[in-house]
């Protein structure tokens, strides 16, 4: 499981699920906190859907933590202020980096569950979707091509 997928699953998971997974890691390993979980602010980058340019929509509160298991570091950043969850995520990340994480199947199960939930929510809102025909001729050509496809 690559880092992008791992982070996505962990960030969407419930804090109790994270706590259970990180407790499992702590049964066999002793994580050391390098950077205590703390709140901080970060800029959020968005892509403008019309002109396709990147811009900063504003700052959002996040929490971050860094831990170490056998001098291998793991880090996590999470939107919101759930300090315990971010610490658990960092511990799981360190275990994955050290290649001692044993619950990969559980994570994959979680991922499937989350994907299904997202699909269900999407299906529920799909029939309320409005299709805006853009009259703006300034939209870049590649965007128009995307729409046709």
């Amino acid at each position: 499981m690559d880092k992008r997928r791992l982070t996505k699953v962990l960030a969407r998971a419930d804090r109790n699920e994270i706590a259970a997974l990180s407790a499992n890691v702590q049964k066999s390993h002793r994580p050391i906190i390098v950077k205590e979980p703390a709140k901080t602010l970060t800029m959020i980058k968005l892509r403008d859907p019309v002109k396709q340019g990147m811009f900063y929509i504003g700052e959002v509160i996040v929490c971050e933590a860094v831990v170490e298991i056998d001098s291998v570091q793991g880090a996590a950043v999470l939107m919101g202020d759930d300090l315990e969850k971010v610490l658990g995520m960092a511990i799981i990340d360190a275990a994955v980096n050290l290649e001692v994480f044993e619950d990969l199947e559980k994570l994959e199960g979680l991922e499937k569950e989350q994907d299904n939930r997202v699909k269900q929510e999407y299906a529920m809102t799909l029939n309320t979707m409005v299709n805006f025909e853009s009259m703006d001729q300034e939209a870049p050509d590649d965007l128009a091509a995307n729409k046709k496809a």
Partner: protein, 196 residues
């Protein structure tokens, strides 16, 4: 998540940084005065806690740093202070503990521009306690009432003389911070010169 985890560093990012900052400010504004930061460096673990205490205090994600080839230290600085690693001629802060490299650092560190003299490097140099005592030099400049005599290890004296020999255009120059192995810190800011 009920297990109690141990912390690698007990250094408080806010309050201990403030205290170290006050000490650095004190030595910078009173050249030749000595302050000790060992108490705070002891709260950090790593390859070089003294450098790390200064880095935690002075650096953030907008500052760049060069550690003169000490990859362990640069890794720690990046993960704790989030600073960028750059080369000796572009870094805002240069940490050096190898005495043989000081000539290269002083000759290549950026000294700011006439319009922006503050865009110069701060060199933090560590010397060992058992270093042979050097000759005394007399210094004058901002922060010194008249003249002051500095008695420091030869390696520090050499560094100060070497910096003066660069003949920077006023008000350019580089700031020097010296730290001993037991945490004694003193500073020779860029406008302080050796009086012959």
């Amino acid at each position: 998540m009920t297990l109690q985890l141990t912390k690698k560093h007990s250094f408080d990012m806010v309050f201990d940084s403030q205290k170290v900052f006050r000490l650095i400010l004190e030595v910078m504004s009173n050249p030749t005065r000595i302050a000790n930061i060992m108490e705070y460096a002891d709260r950090l673990s790593g390859s070089n806690p003294l450098f790390l205490a200064i880095a935690m205090t002075l650096l953030d994600n907008e500052a760049s740093v060069d550690t003169c080839g000490d990859h362990v230290l640069s890794g720690e600085i990046v993960s704790l202070a989030l600073a960028r690693i750059e080369t000796v001629d572009t870094a805002d802060f240069i940490f050096i503990s190898d005495e043989s490299g000081i000539k290269d650092v002083i000759e290549n560190a950026k000294c700011g521009t006439l319009a922006d003299p503050q865009k110069s490097a701060t060199v933090v140099m560590q010397y060992q306690n058992d270093n042979r005592p050097g000759s005394a030099i007399t210094l004058a400049g901002p922060g010194i009432d008249g003249q002051a005599v500095l008695l420091a290890p030869q390696v520090a004296i050499d560094a100060i003389k070497l910096r003066d020999a660069q003949n920077y255009e006023y008000p350019q120059g580089i700031d020097l911070l010296f730290i001993s192995g037991n945490g004694d810190l003193f500073a020779i800011p860029r406008m302080v010169k050796v009086v012959e």
